[in-house]
Amino acid sequence: MLDKILFLLCLASALADERCMPAGRDLMLLMLQYVWNENEMFLFRASLAFAMRNHMNGQQFEVSNIIVCNETMRVSFWFIVTSPLDTSQLIDQENVEAAIRQSRNRINSAFLLTDKTLEFVDILPTLATLYTHPTPPWLIVFGVVMGAVSAGIIIMLVSSVVQKKRKPQDEDDDEETRVKTVENGDAHDGIHNMSFSEDERFTKM
């Protein structure tokens, strides 16, 4: 199938062949597993015509103005662009290059490829700047986490202060019972030698 196309193209563009070589631009499809057929070629020529129209305002480029030659089994070929006004006139390299650069994104999108997988030889892709957020997202997450933790700390400290303030009211009732339980505990508890600490407690009262 591909051979037939090659053949046809060679026949059809026999005239343009000599011009194809020196001024040709090379294109390469780097991605493996891309199905290439004549429809894809048509799409490519149409997108290139679109790019030329965008760049050179007013001139109505047609698909026939994009001439392709030197196709290989690897999806790579040369192409040249002729002027719509005069088919024997070639558009110079800089203009074609500029047009492709301008509409690079659209050409890529037509094939659902990226700058890495669709390469125009000698046209380096301009690197897209990564989206920089106005506020870095990590600060937002940090703010949320720290806010929650700080609120927790404040609540905890405040609640323990409030609890401590409430305790003196209950203390007086518990004093006597507490003394009793400790004394009982002393009788059974032979390990902790409480005799001296008891004195401290009573005197402080």
Partner: protein, 609 residues
């Protein structure tokens, strides 16, 4: 409101809290990023043999000893050793100092984990691609020469200087993360075991949940089986290498977090009649089982990563060949790559030699790349995560798991510092207790000192602390602990203690271990460890973009003043042991000469000298 010491001492709400806290303390970051590494470099499955032997004969006896003595004497690490013998009082202080120093750098690692966690909420992940250089003509040079993951870790996270002597400035973002980490530890540990006991319900169980999720997912990844086969294929010849046994014993020792004083503190809050033998065996076995369990997803993911690296390497070569020879797509595939290479080399040798092929596309080579520590978490794993679908979810899960693991270990570290301070009643009485002033002051001081790790050279200092504080002093403390309990307190008294607590005396296995095997093992480990460290002047890997072999790290040796600090870090924690002994001894001699009876009811030592 002065109460007797019995009532004032806090208690665990239930047994589960106590067990979860001990398990959380023992299970830490090392289980995830040190044990798999050791398995990898020491012949896979074969490493389990020295590891389990070390667990049974060294780890479990030490663990049982600490839990038992803490539960019996019901005091923090300082009080416990004072009780056994006033000459051993320095042991508790040594434990506290080590716990303090370890807390300082350990929380810095948690700060790094937090930083990565905060950054996991973006699409695409910030470590997936290089930033552009200043004039936007290409990518940042440092990033291009290394990898985006390396760049994000060394430049955007640490902003590391190329030498430990160059301190750089305080990185404000790292200060924020450090303060956050300390705040989180503060809110969990401020009320002592009242708050820790609740926090561990989450921090100790969550890692297991995440590990299980990762286990299931990682096993479905392509290349996972390569990683697992690589991990578990035993290479029995490594057992003849003494270094393997040494590393197994060292790993068990540091993994169980003994000698920090934290375990003694935790068990001192127990009821008196609690079966600490069963607890010790449970904690030790669960710790080792977790290490093993964690190594499965780690290695599956490393296998996946190696597979990816291999495939991208091969595909690059295939592309280069396809472009050069202008063949149709899909003629050369990964499977028939070698066949094509041979054919093309023979048929078109000149053209073939012009193609820039990467020779290092070897599956085994990618699997052999071993990483541990921060390299595993922040470089290898983050790189693997980029290749997984739904990267953000996996990254978030992973970093929350790391944070939980580290947080529960931090609780033990801080308890090793806070409990002795409370028991010693060091702080003046007029400080209001409502706002937990004592604990708060400790936290604020720790946070302030830890800011040195937020400098440009912070990572180098963390390495210094990690290698020297968390190693030799602990071995010495553990050795003295064994001697102190078994020989100074006496095996008979200790057996009676255990009989009182559990209702049975320790059997012949425990006795043999405590009296002979464990001290011997510890001594051997200690001697070998010091010998290995002292053999060469210590060096460290520096990240220097101007280095000739960049992105490889440059091996620099520590300057003299850092070396002096290293010696200080090793010796300052252990100096209290002899100092306190000498101090108490001189006091006793002087006291005897002045015939003054000391009736301190808390110290139950027979006062006949």
């Amino acid at each position: 409101m002065e109460n007797s010491a019995v009532e004032e001492r806090p208690k665990w709400d239930n047994k589960a809290q106590y067990l979860l806290t001990c398990i959380g303390f023992a299970v830490g970051l090392g289980n995830v990023w040190r044990f798999p590494y050791l398995c990898q470099i020491y012949g896979g499955g074969a490493f389990l043999i020295p590891y389990l032997i070390a667990l049974v004969f060294e780890g479990l006896p030490l663990l049982y000893l600490e839990l038992a003595i803490g539960q019996r004497l019901r005091l923090g690490s300082v009080g416990v050793w004072n009780s056994i013998s006033p000459l051993l009082g320095g042991l508790g202080i040594a434990s506290s100092i080590v716990s303090l120093l370890v807390s300082l750098f350990y929380n810095t690692i948690l700060a790094w984990v937090l930083w990565y966690f905060f950054h996991s909420f973006q699409n695409p992940l910030p470590w997936s691609s290089c930033p552009l250089n200043v004039n936007r003509t290409g990518y940042n040079v440092e990033c291009e020469k290394s990898t985006p993951v390396d760049y994000f870790w060394y430049r955007e996270t640490l902003n590391i200087t190329d030498d430990i002597e160059i301190s750089g400035s305080l990185q404000w973002w790292m200060v924020l993360c450090l303060v956050s980490a300390w705040f989180i530890v503060y809110i969990c540990a401020i009320k002592g075991i009242d708050s820790i006991g609740k926090a561990v319900y989450v921090t100790s169980t969550f890692p297991y949940l995440v590990l299980t999720i990762f286990l299931i997912y990682a096993l479905t990844l392509p290349g996972a089986t390569d990683g697992l086969v690589y991990l578990f294929t035993p290479e029995w010849s490594t057992l003849l290498n003494p270094q393997v046994w040494l590393d197994a014993a060292t790993q068990i020792f540091f993994s169980l977090s003994v000698a920090f004083g934290g375990l003694i503190a935790f068990s001192s809050y127990n009821t008196e009649r609690n079966n600490c033998e069963r607890d010790a065996v449970l904690v030790g076995v669960i710790n080792s089982a977790t290490s093993l369990y964690a190594s499965i997803p780690v290695f599956s993911i490393l296998g996946f990563k190696a597979n990816n690296a291999f495939l991208s390497c091969i595909n690059e070569n295939i592309l280069a060949l396809t472009n050069e020879f202008e063949m149709p797509d899909q003629n050369i595939t990964v499977d028939n790559y070698d066949h094509w290479v041979n054919y093309l080399n023979q048929t078109y040798p000149d053209q073939f030699s012009k193609v820039p092929l990467n020779d290092g596309c070897d599956r085994q080579k990618f699997l052999d790349e071993s990483v541990s520590g921060t390299g595993l978490a922040f470089i290898a794993f983050t790189e693997a995560v980029i290749a997984m679908p739904g990267s953000q979810v996996w990254a978030i899960l992973f970093f929350v798991m790391l944070f939980s693991l580290g947080l529960s270990s931090m609780f033990g570290n801080m308890e090793g510092v806070l409990t002795p301070i409370r028991d010693l009643k060091v702080l003046p009485k007029w400080l209001p207790d409502e706002i937990f002033t004592g604990n708060s002051i400790v936290f604020i001081l720790c946070c302030a000192v830890a800011l040195i790790f937020a400098l440009g050279s912070g990572n180098y200092w963390v390495e210094v602390f990690n290698s020297y504080v968390g190693s030799v002093p602990l071995l010495i403390i553990a050795l003295f602990e064994l001697i102190g309990v078994i020989y100074i307190r006496g095996m008979k008294t200790f057996s009676d203690d255990i009989y009182f607590m559990t209702g049975r005396r320790p059997n012949i296995f425990w006795k043999a271990c405590w009296m002979v095997i464990s001290p011997l093992l510890l001594l051997v480990v200690f001697i070998f460890y010091v010998a290995v460290q002292a053999r060469k002047h210590p060096t460290y890997p520096a990240w220097n973009p101007d280095y000739v072999d960049f992105p490889k790290t440059e091996t620099k040796s520590y300057p003299d003043w850092v070396f002096a600090i290293i010696v200080l870090l090793c010796s300052v924690p252990v100096i209290p042991i002899p100092l306190m002994a000498i101090y108490r001894l001189t006091r006793r001699i002087m006291r005897r000469s002045s015939h003054h009876a000391d009736l301190n009811p808390y110290n139950n030592y027979a006062f006949e000298g």
